[in-house]
């Protein structure tokens, strides 16, 4: 089975590095990481991912803005997005239906097994 391509965008290199390690460790994914929010669109066009994981709050931009940029791009508009955030409590995520702008929403620190679950759900 062909590996699914995942783009992980987060300003923290330690996050993208560990997630890449974990996801690639499962053997099912090929992961590209990006730490500059402003480069995310460019990276997505080059990498042509099956799914994008976006940090919601980054120093130069925010996940919601990036998501709308992807939506505006004819090549990228149908790629599923998963948000990651460090700013809300788990309970809040729970009650708001796990979605922001129609995209699922994971609160850090999240068990990477949950991340995989979520990715699989989105890829179906």
């Amino acid at each position: 089975m062909e590996k699914r391509r995942i783009l992980v965008v987060d300003d923290e290199a330690i996050i993208t590095r560990t997630l890449k390690l974990y996801l690639e460790g499962t053997g099912s994914y090929e992961v590209r990481t990006e730490n500059e929010g402003s480069h995310a669109l460019q990276a997505a066009r080059e990498f042509n991912p099956d799914l994008i994981m976006l940090d919601l709050v980054m120093p130069d931009t925010d996940g919601a803005t990036l998501a709308s940029e992807f939506r505006g791009d004819s090549k990228l508009q149908n790629i599923p997005i998963i948000f990651l955030t460090a700013l809300v409590s788990k309970q809040e995520v729970g009650a708001q239906g796990k979605e922001i702008g129609g995209h699922p929403f994971l609160a850090k620190p999240v068990d990477p097994e949950k991340v995989v679950e979520c990715i699989e759900e989105q890829l179906q």
Binding site: E12, I14, I15, T18, L19, L21, Y22, G25, V57, A86, L87, V88, S89, K90, Q91, E92, A95, Q96, A107, K108, P109, V110, D111, P112, E113
Partner: protein, 517 residues
């Protein structure tokens, strides 16, 4: 102060005094005008007897005798002077003594008459004084009653009779206990009477029709000239109005105190809310810095777990502990984050029962695990309440979880909801009758009972403090109730914990609802 009856005739009648002094002057003048004529021993003796008698009588206040002596001296001196002028000696022989006896007789006669006269004048004066005093007593608005030592009424003034619904005539001769709720009063012992001086007290008196009213009584004993008690004077003031004013004042003071207390409580709550909010802001500031590292650790732990060889059991335990440690640190940060008051905190009319059901479904697993049974007493047709469903759900989940934790051996959780109309007291401070005004609002009340351990009374005041917990490390952060308190506060609602007599705790949350919605 003891009152002694004084006798008005004791004062010196000035005319008698003047007359006596004047008569003394006559022999002096005569002696000066006709030296030698008073030299005889007999006359001197008479004068010597009369002068001390005059002085004594004057000193004792016997005005008739004073006058008699004065006149006696004057006449004696006059006759001596006349005799001297005529050059005759009359002090010898029986004629002289006869003359002296006549003189004295006349003098005593005059004295006696004068005394009678002054007694009559005294009586008239006394009568006038009595009339004036009686008039004064009758005119005054203060009730006055005078009794004898057996407490039989000798005198009551019209004010006293009026205040008690009697006529003066009905009172005189009765026992003064006619005014007292206890009825007839016993006569006082002599010693008690003497001790009774300016005896002031408040009491309740009875009117003729049986109604009662508060009075201020002041009694004093009347002592005779010899110091024996001969009666009791009591003034009686109707203090109904004063009492009423006093009550109003007390009520106003009480209300003032209460609103002052409320104000202080509100202030405390504001300070508390402010404190919690700044904790929240701080947490929001550091959350990013804490949660990213936690995420890295958690992911790292999972990766390491996957690479673990079989048989490295200790390492597996270590990695599990690390996972738990991450979860704990995250729980604290999440709890603190909850204090950050979202400024777009939105309240919408919601059905409280629905939120209760949702919250219960989220803790159902936990309840089943601990063998806790559920009793629901949710009132149908509950008025809608303006609230934030998500926040209230957070509160309820915490309450239910706390209850389950308090019942580790199982028990029963009761969730009850009901509403009641709000009654407000009319806030007119002048109206004695406080009316209950029905407003359009109602209270919507949620009660959560458990049959658990209860909360020691000394801990009750602390449960809302951030980080107060009795649970083992890792099981509770102690933030649950302080967050809940803040949320309830933001809804303008109240939350209260009470230990139940039968064991366990009742939590009561009271929401205010506009009936219109």
């Amino acid at each position: 102060m003891t009152t002694r009856s004084s006798y008005p005739a004791k004062s010196v009648p000035p005319r008698a005094l003047a007359l006596s002094v004047a008569s003394l002057a006559v022999p002096v003048v005569a002696a000066l005008a006709f030296p030698g004529s008073l030299g005889e021993l007999g006359v001197m003796l008479w004068l010597l007897a009369l002068v001390p008698a005059f002085l004594l009588a004057y000193y004792r206040g016997w005005w008739g005798v004073t006058l008699a002596c004065g006149v006696g001296m004057a006449v004696l001196a006059l006759t001596q002077s006349v005799a001297g002028i005529l050059g005759r000696q009359i002090q010898e022989g029986p004629l002289f003594f006869a003359v002296v006896v006549i003189y004295i007789g006349i003098a005593l006669g005059i004295g006696w008459l004068t005394d009678r006269l002054s007694v009559a004048t005294g009586r008239k004066q006394i009568e006038e004084i009595r009339l004036r005093l009686v008039k004064a007593l009758e005119t005054m608005q203060l009730g006055v009653t005078i009794t004898d030592t057996n407490r039989k009424i000798i005198f009551s003034n019209p004010a006293e009779a009026r205040n008690h619904g009697y006529t003066v005539g009905e009172l005189v001769g009765k026992n003064v206990g006619i005014f007292a709720p206890s009825g007839k009063l016993k006569p006082l012992e002599k010693e008690e009477l003497k001790a009774l001086s300016s005896w002031k007290r408040e009491s309740i008196n009875v009117r003729k029709d049986g109604s009662t009213f508060p009075v201020q009584l002041t009694s004093d004993v009347v002592l005779s000239a010899s110091g024996d008690p001969i009666g009791i004077v009591t003034t009686c003031e109707d203090i109904t109005e004063r009492k009423e004013r006093q009550k109003q004042l007390e009520r106003a003071t009480r209300e003032l105190r209460k609103s002052h207390g409320d104000l202080q409580a509100t202030q405390m709550r504001l300070i508390e809310a402010e404190k919690l909010e700044s904790v929240g802001r701080l947490a929001a500031g550091v959350a990013h810095e804490v949660k990213n590292p936690l995420m890295v650790i958690l992911t790292g732990v999972k990766i390491l777990t996957q690479h673990l060889q079989d048989g490295s059991g200790d390492i597996r335990v270590l990695l599990d502990d690390m996972t738990d440690a991450v979860a704990r640190a995250d729980a604290v940060i999440c709890g603190l984050l909850d204090f950050a008051r979202p400024h777009d905190f939105e309240l919408v009319p919601e059905d409280l029962n629905t939120i209760v059901e949702q919250s219960l479904s989220l803790v159902k697993h936990e309840m089943d695990k601990s063998h806790v049974t559920l009793a629901k007493e949710l009132a149908p047709d509950l008025p809608k309440v303006n609230l934030n469903a998500f926040k209230i759900q957070q509160v309820l989940i915490n309450l239910f979880t706390n209850a389950v934790h308090a019942m580790p051996e199982g028990g029963e959780l009761t969730v009850r909801s009901y509403s009641r109309p709000v009654r407000q007291l009319a806030s007119n401070p002048n109206s004695v009758e406080r009316e209950n005004l029905l407003t359009s609002e109602s209270d919507v009340i949620l009660e959560v009972d458990d049959t658990g351990t209860g909360i020691p009374e000394d801990k009750l005041a602390k449960i809302f403090d951030p980080f107060f917990t009795t649970k083992p490390t890792g099981k509770g952060t102690g933030l649950g109730l302080s967050v809940s308190w803040q949320i309830v506060e933001m809804h303008g609602a109240s939350i209260e914990f009470k230990n139940r007599d039968e064991g366990g705790v009742t939590v009561t949350i009271i929401f205010r609802s506009d009936a219109g919605e």
